[in-house]
């Protein structure tokens, strides 16, 4: 590989981390968000999960229902953290912050990926919460270092994916009101048309097809395989990773293309 190729790439990676640092420093000054974010997964696991586990309505094979949905709820809370990420960019646009970043020589893709990646770091708190709750509820977790590393990576990648998706939407709609509308409309279908809280096997055929086009399905599958002791993947972990990485790459490229729209 030639030096002329490595240098811009190194610059891109470095700038991506500077943007991530910018976001993480903000979080350091205000922890309250992390605490309020903990509430939602707790409600889903402690109330919804417990009730459905008792009803025995879902056939989740040899895995108890609570174990089944723990990774699903982690994926869901990562989705919820990430999907409203675009609102920050709209806020920064209404101020002059986006303009200031765009006038700097920073590659546009680094501006987008850096923001997305910071959602990934934020989401690690969600992973800690779901693990804590799972312990409390007696979910049989896989504690091997490799499994934990996979969970860490999948959570970061998934949040990056959905945060970047959110940024793309923000670049298109540009105003807070429209963004909130679109965000609400997208979140629930993404969540319900996935294998997060029920297996795809019990879905009607049309929904099965939709769920196979939904990146969240692959996130849940990867998390379920890695988090639980004795769980097998529906698609294969490599396949899950490939779908997640490819989708993220496409979204970052689209986002980089659309990001300058925020300045006009």
């Amino acid at each position: 590989m030639s030096g002329s190729f490595i240098q811009p790439l190194a610059g891109f990676v470095e700038k991506t981390f500077v943007i991530t640092e910018f976001e993480i420093r903000k979080l350091r000054h205000d922890f309250t968000e992390l605490i309020t974010r903990a509430l939602q997964p707790a409600l889903w696991l402690l109330i919804f999960g417990q009730v459905f586990a008792r009803s025995g309505a879902m056939n989740t094979g040899n895995i108890p229902y609570l174990d089944f949905i723990a990774p699903g709820i982690l994926a869901q809370s990562v989705l919820f953290v990430a999907i409203f990420y675009g609102i920050n960019v709209i806020w920064e646009r209404d101020l002059g912050i986006v303009q200031k970043f765009l006038v700097s020589p920073t590659p546009r893709a680094a501006l987008v990926l850096g923001k997305g990646f910071s959602a990934g770091i934020r989401s690690l708190a969600q992973a800690a919460i779901v693990y804590g709750l799972s312990l409390l509820l007696g979910v049989k977790l896989n504690w091997s270092p490799l499994a934990l590393l996979n969970v860490l990576l999948i959570v970061i990648l998934a949040a990056t994916l959905f945060a970047t998706f959110s940024l793309v939407i923000a670049c298109i709609v540009k105003t807070r009101e429209r963004f909130m509308g679109v965000g609400q409309v997208l979140t629930m279908p993404l969540f319900f048309a996935s294998n997060a809280i029920y297996p795809t096997a019990i879905m009607p055929d049309w929904l099965k097809i939709v769920s196979h086009l939904n990146p969240l399905t692959y996130v849940v599958d990867a998390l379920r395989t890695s988090m639980l002791a004795g769980s097998t993947s529906s698609f294969g972990l490599n396949h899950d990773y490939a779908v997640i990485l490819l989708t993220t790459t496409v979204l970052v490229l689209v986002g980089a293309r659309l990001y300058p729209r925020l300045a006009s």
Partner: protein, 266 residues
């Protein structure tokens, strides 16, 4: 000192059928303080956005610091600083952190970052407040921090969109004192928009008055005043070329953006 640092040739921007900037041609010398005046909606902000590479022109060309804004945008970005009209520092970070992020984005050598940030804070009179969160700053301090942030990399041209809008007279004077220092110490060229005529009169070497996307008049304040005959003020000049006083006109969006900035800084 007659080196040209900014040159626009027939620079034009259309939005649909509306022409916001219409064949704008002008040049600015290195070390000059150049003021772009005009009512709200005259095309000042669109001009600045094109010159700072935020908005591609529909036609025409401009060179800033020797680089083309259309084909060498990244080189232009390295050579300029920009202070938008709206607040552009992050309130949830400290002043120091706001500067640190930009020191890194502009590739200041790692060993120099701390000295540069310290100098910039000192230069803008913010040394004591570097560690405080920016949302506790006063409006004048925010503006000074924004200028510090935009000049860390010692740009050749600093663009400022309404740098003193929403500030009280004392804060405005302080901002101007620091801008003049920048020019004196580093030879930074200042290209700014304003609709405070008294500021244009006391600080700008030359001004251009924009009206309906075109340059209606260009020269030193003195030249423009005497061109109308004896005993004319800059306000007369403005009314003559732009048709009305500078605070008239503008769309709902212009006015609400300006008031929002004033409120955040005030």
């Amino acid at each position: 000192m007659n080196e040209t640092v900014l040159e626009a040739t027939a620079l034009t921007r259309r939005f649909g059928t509306f022409t916001a900037v219409d064949a704008l041609t002008l040049s600015v010398n290195a070390g000059e303080v150049f003021g772009l005046l005009g009512s709200n909606g005259a095309g000042k902000t669109t001009t600045i956005k094109m010159l700072t590479t935020l908005l591609p022109p529909s036609s025409g060309e401009a060179r800033v610091a020797g680089f083309s804004i259309t084909t060498q945008a990244v080189d232009v970005r390295r050579a300029i600083g920009y202070v938008p009209q709206a607040v552009s520092v992050d309130g949830s970070l400290t002043g120091y952190e706001n500067l640190l992020i930009f020191a890194k984005l502009y590739d200041l050598p790692r060993g120099e970052q701390q000295t540069r940030i310290k100098e910039a804070l000192e230069f803008m009179g913010l040394t004591a407040d570097g560690g405080r969160l920016v949302n506790q700053y006063s409006g004048g301090m925010v503006r000074r921090l924004e200028i510090a942030q935009s000049t860390l990399h010692r740009p050749r041209v600093l663009f400022l969109d309404e740098p003193t809008v929403g500030l009280d007279p004392i804060a405005r004077d302080a901002v101007w004192k620091h801008l003049v220092d920048l020019k004196t110490n580093y030879g930074t060229t200042l290209f700014l928009t304003t609709h405070y005529l008294e500021e244009a009169e006391s600080h700008c070497d030359r001004i251009a008055i924009m009206h309906l996307g075109k340059i209606a008049a260009l020269g030193t304040c003195k030249e423009l005043e005497t061109s109308l005959g004896d005993n004319h003020t800059l306000n007369d000049v403005f009314v003559h070329y732009a048709g009305s006083a500078p605070d008239a006109g503008g769309t709902f969006r212009d006015v609400s953006a300006e008031r929002a900035t004033a409120q955040r800084l005030g």
